[in-house]
């Protein structure tokens, strides 16, 4: 079985990767930590470190509302069709 995880980049990660979105394929359900590892391998340390500074909104198929996750939530299991959205932390403006 192929598990597809969609990743969308907002905030500074989008500017640094020059990408808005991409998908990753796995042979079994990955954890959030594995996604972060994939990003590190693909884009290098600078972007991997930036990913750790972002909020992550997780949309799981079948759930109406997104969930806020953090890079520290490494063990969260992702399902096929999950969408991860990396976004800047909300701090004052």
């Amino acid at each position: 079985m192929i598990v597809v995880i969609q990743v969308e980049y907002l905030g500074v990660v989008r500017l640094l990767t020059a990408k808005k979105e991409e998908s990753f394929q796995f042979t079994c359900s990955p954890t959030l930590g594995q996604i972060l590892e994939c990003l590190g391998n693909k884009y290098g340390q600078e972007i991997a470190e930036e990913c750790l500074n972002q909020m992550i909104f997780l949309h799981i198929p079948g759930f109406p509302a997104s969930q806020l996750k953090w890079p520290r939530d490494q063990d969260v299991k992702l399902e096929n069709g999950s969408l991860l959205r990396f976004i800047s932390m909300v701090t004052g403006g």
């Binding site: 500074v12 500017l15 640094l16 997104s66 800047s88 701090t91 004052g92």
Partner: protein, 631 residues
């Protein structure tokens, strides 16, 4: 004198008298600088009976002990007076280069009194000041005014703070603009300046600033610079600045959209900071001595808004003229901000007035005829831009909106006050308080009215329960949709914000990035001024300023009943499309209880207790409030 210049310029526009006074030591020790200096003067010199637009109101311009030094972002300047927009405390600050130049010109504070017989501008250079005729500048837009003064003085290094035509026309939310777009926009300080026939203040200085312990000062600065460079937000602030918030708040379901009818804007991507960075941004731009230059120059090379170029915008303007009014055209939003900058209006208040009218139009409370034939349907960018022009020049329906949303609702009637999004007469910003409970409380109690910059409690977004317990005693304090602990959070960040404004440094670093904790601020202040500050003294100075301001608005009649929010935020849950924020309302009353208790203020009235005021050394304030029968 170290850190401070030790001089205050007092200008009487009626008599044209200029007096140079010594900066009282009491101000330095107890109020630190800028906002603190101005608030003490405002309390002492502008009593309740003063008409904000009368000759008795005074305009105070203050900078702090770090202004003009290499401390990152120590570039800001506070403008304060009694507000014509709210009738209470008026205060606003701006970045750029004006503040440091004022300090180099030899002054820590300027006090402007009276009304000039004809338009003038004040020119301050190296310890001397004079008034110059400004009849030829009256009516000019902000950019043109600044350019004309630089040419007239034949000095490209002169820094100018000026007003635009909106202020001259009496628009109540007109600001004072430095470096073209650096706006002290809130609470109508530009309107006060116009009422005095003062078009601009031009400053130029070459005087030295001296630190008491220069080596220690530089050592601390290097530490602080490293903290900033290594901060997790550094790159985001550098590349996106505050425009990052369009997407971030939209995703959280609390981006002010269609006048707070929802927190989710379907066109957010088209008007996001990311889109701006990818399309029109040309390069970054910073204030004096900044290590996180978060602003930007942009230019539009093609399309309907071809040729538009400027600096900025900040999130408030960007969202104000996009999501708040339902516009998904980035060029149109930038044009809206540009109009406000050129005419000299506050983008938050202006966008509230326009979006308020649009909601009334949607609800059938305002007709096309009443709106001068404008189709105020959400997303009609042409109507938004036309309405901004009309407001600035008080033309037709624009005149109704030019006094702010409270007065507009009174004139329109039909129950429209229900839709006026303000606190104490000051229009609120571009995030929905229902999705940020500490911000909601901060709005309700802010001493200048509905304002986020009096506290900026973004700690509530950390969602780290252990940090919540460690810092504020309860895990809920770290969660934006919870209300427990928020009284303590807001008090803490009020004092951090007061410290930032007294030192006249940037809140992005000092409050949002939490650079320079109180103990480090004490070390730094000691190194720069030679005055032995301690952590406790610095924290108390910030707390003193907050209490003094509260006493000022209490003297103006403000009580707990006024510390409230528009009914929508208290009763209407955020709709389902708001995702993680859906269903949320603001539980204000328990937060207020905790807030007053944390401040040691009277819970029933919101009046600071005599004990608290005396503990902060505010015996003179106690005496005044006693004399007036308030305490």
């Amino acid at each position: 004198m170290y850190g401070y210049q030790g001089k205050v310029l007092r200008v009487n526009l009626c008599t044209e008298e200029m007096r140079i006074e010594d900066l009282p030591e009491e101000l330095m020790l107890n109020y630190l600088g800028g906002r603190g200096f101005n608030m003490k003067r405002l309390y002492d010199e502008v009593p309740p009976e003063v008409d904000p637009l009368g000759s008795e109101n005074k305009l105070f311009i203050g900078v702090g002990p770090l202004t003009g030094t290499l401390f990152p972002g120590a570039a800001r300047v506070n403008f304060s007076a009694k507000s014509p927009q709210t009738g209470i405390l008026g205060d606003s600050n701006a970045g750029g280069f004006f503040g440091p130049e004022l300090k180099f010109a030899g002054f820590d504070q300027v006090i402007v009194e009276g009304v000039a017989k004809a338009p003038v501008y004040l020119y301050i250079k190296d310890g001397e000041a004079r008034l110059k005729p400004a009849q030829h500048l009256w009516g000019k837009e902000v950019f043109a005014t600044q350019e004309a003064i630089l040419q007239e003085l034949n000095d490209a290094r002169v820094q100018v703070a000026c007003i635009g035509p909106a202020a001259e026309n009496g628009v109540k939310y007109s600001g004072i603009f430095c470096n073209l777009v650096r706006a002290a926009a809130r609470t109508g300080m530009g309107t006060v300046m116009a009422s005095k026939n003062l078009k601009a203040i031009a400053v130029r200085g070459t005087q030295d600033l001296k630190a008491a312990q220069p080596e220690k000062f530089m050592e601390l600065l290097q530490e602080i610079d490293q903290e900033i460079y290594q901060h997790f937000e550094y790159k985001t602030r550098l590349l996106l600045g505050t425009t990052k918030l369009v997407h971030a708040l939209n995703e959280a379901g609390c981006l002010a959209t269609k006048h707070f009818q929802t927190g989710r804007f379907v066109g957010a991507e088209q008007v996001s900071g990311e889109r701006l960075a990818e399309t029109y941004r040309r390069k970054g731009k910073g204030c004096f001595a900044c290590t996180v230059p978060c602003s930007r120059f942009f230019s539009i090379e093609e399309g309907k808004y071809q040729g538009l170029k400027s600096e900025g915008p900040e999130f408030e303007g960007l969202a104000g003229f996009s999501s708040r009014v339902g516009v998904d055209d980035l060029g149109a939003a930038l044009k809206g901000v540009d109009l406000c900058n050129r005419y000299g209006m506050d983008v938050i208040s202006a966008s509230e007035c326009v979006s308020f009218a649009m909601e009334l139009y949607q609800r059938g409370l305002l007709t096309k005829d009443e709106a001068d034939g404008l189709d105020l349907t959400w997303g009609n960018s042409e109507a938004v831009l036309t309405l901004l022009e009309k407001i600035a020049f008080r033309q037709g329906f624009g005149d109704v909106l030019a006094d702010g949303v409270v007065e507009a609702a009174k004139r329109i009637g039909k129950g429209s006050e229900l839709y006026a999004m303000h606190v104490k007469g000051l229009e609120i910003f571009q995030a929905d308080p229902r999705g940020l409970k500490a911000y909601a409380l901060g709005f309700a109690v802010a001493t200048r009215g509905g304002d986020h910059l009096r506290s900026e409690p973004s700690f509530e977004f950390t969602e780290d329960p252990e940090e919540g317990i460690r810092r504020f005693g309860v895990p809920e304090s770290a969660f934006r949709l919870e209300y427990k602990g928020k009284g303590k959070v807001v008090k803490f960040y009020e004092e951090r914000s007061a410290l930032a404004d007294c030192l006249n440094v940037c809140k992005n670093t000092l409050v949002n990035m939490e650079i320079l904790p109180f103990h480090q601020a004490a070390e730094l202040l000691t190194a720069v001024t030679g005055i032995p500050f301690t952590e406790e003294k610095v924290q108390q100075a910030a707390e003193r300023v907050v209490n003094l301001e509260r006493a000022y608005i209490v003297r103006e009649g403000i009580r707990r009943k006024d510390d409230t929010l528009p009914e929508r935020f208290l009763k209407e849950p955020l709709p389902p499309e708001c995702g993680p924020s859906a269903g949320s309302i603001v539980e204000l009353e328990p937060m207020l209880d905790e807030y007053y208790e944390t401040h040691h203020w009277d819970i029933a009235t919101g009046i600071p207790t005599v004990e608290k005021l005396e503990q902060l050394g505010l015996q003179d304030i106690v005496a005044d409030l006693r004399w007036r029968g308030i305490v």
